[in-house]
């Protein structure tokens, strides 16, 4: 019997992986606040009017990377174009395709049979496993609590002009967009398309790369060195790659350049009194912002480094994991094990290793 705390995308990836590994719905408890695993993600992607995923063909929640969304699109459209785009790393599924696939997977895995609506505030190590906030003791628990909340610049927290990019909003005639990552770049295009003039407020130039991390850090090739690094090095790597980035390409550059020539887009280092400020500043970072994780660390004296909980390379909490029990983290809090933990690939990284632990325990 195992529990997944968190009913979002990372929790859903873990559930699908466990099901693929042979566990029945009755053997898994999922504790979350909404039965739709994409509920929160759906709101945020709609807020920034996201139409295509940054991820590629394997950016889905199914346990196996094949068949990816490009294969599905090719079969549906009866066209090899998605496959050709995919081998050239140019295929980005639409948000609708991603969500449709997720819905199919949700039904196929019988997610709703395992889901229990509950907010978990405390997980505690006890004999035989972990006591999950009144839901019983489970030998294997995966925590996938998601991002701890939206990040606001301090000076805008109480400013009535400010709206976060991940909250529903329209655009004023002139809008200042704070940030330089994927959400900010998306909002520049959204505001320009809505006829607004845009001021990009940013302290540094964004990096341009296809995914939010270099590709080798998605596989053992880059991870081996990452896992060998000492805490200070690892923190530096995470901070470096936590800096804003968005993909290169004409689709991003041309509208901005055109608006710049027309006087509708400019870059500034500080806010300058525009009627609307969109904060594309992402999420709060660190376990301390998450009450569940903060309490877990405090009660068990878990090792931490900077804003991260120290994890083993298989994404488990080493001091609370042994042959009899497993405490794993997935999603953004699992970056110590996998720098891109807040991506779908990252969620599956944690899920597969959690499944190995559960599977080894079951077959002993």
């Amino acid at each position: 019997m195992c529990a997944i705390v968190g009913g979002g995308l990372a929790g859903f990836c873990a559930y699908a992986t466990l099901r693929k590994g042979g566990l029945e719905p009755a053997e898994i408890v999922v504790l979350g606040t909404d039965p739709d695993p994409a509920a929160v993600w759906r709101i945020r992607s709609a807020a920034i009017r996201q139409r295509r995923m940054r991820s590629e063909s394997d950016g889905h929640c199914a346990p196996s990377s094949f068949p990816g969304l490009a294969v599905r699109a090719a079969l549906r459209r009866r066209s090899a174009a998605p496959l050709v785009q995919s081998v050239c790393d140019r295929y980005h599924p639409s948000v609708d395709e991603f969500l449709e696939h997720l819905e199919e997977l949700r039904a196929a895995t019988r997610w709703d049979e395992s889901f229990q609506r509950s907010r978990v505030d405390r997980v505690r190590a006890v004999d035989g496993g972990f006591e999950v906030d009144g839901h019983g003791v489970f030998p294997h628990v995966l925590l996938a609590p998601g991002h701890p909340g939206l990040a606001w610049p301090d000076e805008l927290a109480a400013d009535s002009r400010a709206v976060h990019a991940y909250e529903p909003h329209d655009f004023a005639d002139t809008v200042e967009i704070v940030g330089a990552g994927m959400a900010a770049a998306t909002e520049w295009l959204n505001a320009l398309a809505a006829g607004a003039s845009v001021v990009s407020v940013r302290r540094r130039e964004p990096e341009r790369r296809p995914l939010n991390l270099p590709r080798e850090l998605f596989s053992r090739r880059g991870l081996a060195g990452y896992h060998r690094s000492v805490a200070a090095e690892r923190i530096a790597i995470l901070e470096r790659y936590g800096a804003p980035s968005y993909p290169a390409g004409r689709a991003w550059d041309e509208p901005v350049e055109s608006a710049r020539r027309g006087g509708r887009f400019r870059v500034a280092s500080e806010l300058n009194g525009a009627p609307q400020v969109v904060c594309a500043t992402g999420f709060k970072r660190g376990f301390r912002h998450n009450p569940l994780l903060a309490r877990l660390v405090a009660e068990h004296g878990l090792e931490t480094a900077g804003e991260w909980i120290v994890l083993t390379p298989d994404s488990t909490v080493g001091s609370l994991t042994d042959a009899e029990r497993t405490l794993a983290l997935a999603g953004a809090p699992a970056q110590w094990a996998f720098p891109a933990a807040d991506t779908l690939v990252g969620a599956k990284y944690a899920a597969r290793r959690f499944h190995r632990k559960v599977s080894a325990w079951r077959t002993r």
């Binding site: 992986t17 693929k20 394997d58 346990p63 196996s64 990377s65 094949f66 068949p67 995919s86 081998v87 050239c88 790393d89 270099p214 590709r215 080798e216 998605f218 596989s219 053992r220 090739r221 880059g222 991870l223 081996a224 690939v345 599956k348 990284y349 597969r352 290793r353």
Partner: protein, 392 residues
Amino acid sequence: MAYTLRGRIESRVAAALVPLLAGCILALVLQAWWPVELAGLMLGVGLLFDIAYHRLVTYQPGWAALPLGLLELGAIMGLAHLLHVGAPLWAALAFYAGSWLLAQALGHAIFPLARLSYGEDGGELGRAGAGLAATALVLLAAAGGVAWATQPPVVHLAAGVHEGPLVLDYSQQLVGEPGAVVRGGIIVTADDVTIRDVTVVGGEHGIQVESAERVLLERVNVFDATLDGINVRRGQVTIRDCSVSMLGNEFGQGIDISFTADLAPSLVENCLLTGGQEGIFLDSVHAMARGNHVRRTTLRGITVTEMAMVAVEGNTVEDALGIGIFCSDYSMCDIRENSITGIRPDPDSSDSMREGYGIVSHYWAHAEVEDNDVSRSPYEMGEFSDAYITSE
């Protein structure tokens, strides 16, 4: 994918298993070693390239498999040529293409399905990887062992004169040390015989091949045979880098291959043939005569006759009496890029064909000619008795 080195090697070896197995089966069916040799070569070249890729290619997008595959194909075909892997070109290309497609299917679909963490493990296959590598090694070792065990024995012929005729009636490689001479001829009656670096003096035929296939005569020198220098009947041979001297022999041929039309083609290549009635005589055969030097023959330089199908290519024929290259009796001859010089009229013959022709097509034969150079001869080409000559 961002492969690790181990991932590249394990994926490569695992993908090579089926081609290796197919190579073994094909080798059994075709009774030829080239499928196993080719599969082994593909694996070896691939592993060497993998080491280079690991340093040079941090992340390999899917499309890169195509140019890298072509690069490896070029290396494999080049090495196959250098190592004399006897694979037919199109069969080798088809074998490679099938193996490459299988590797793509495995890498993109089957491995990720079988091992969920295949991508994030950089292509590593875990315990299965080691098992598959061991299986591939066992398969290669077994095939190599069988190949080694079934190789014909090598018989070394010491320097000095050995009294013949030697009769080779079982598969073997007869290899002469420098100065090895057989007096009285060699007779081959078994398949898969190789004779290399041997000088033969005398004998009715210098070397006689009788109903034997896959016979290789390489760097043999033949002198003073009573009839033919090399005589092949109902056999399939490759004769390469030889010399046959028939000066003073009134009726013999330098090389005579006859009555083998139903067998695999024979090849005569880079031989020096001097004297005799005809330098190369090909009768009712499928064959190629390429890059030979024929001179001072008394009847014709090269003869193709009796429904033979022969390519005569890049040869030099000089100082022949009557006819340089003769295509006769319903034969089909592809005659190209030969140099024919000094063909003399035969004063003792009333046959009009023998008035000094570079190329003659005779009696319903069809000679296709291209880029031949005929010089110091009365006639360049002639058609006789309903035969014809065409050129592209």
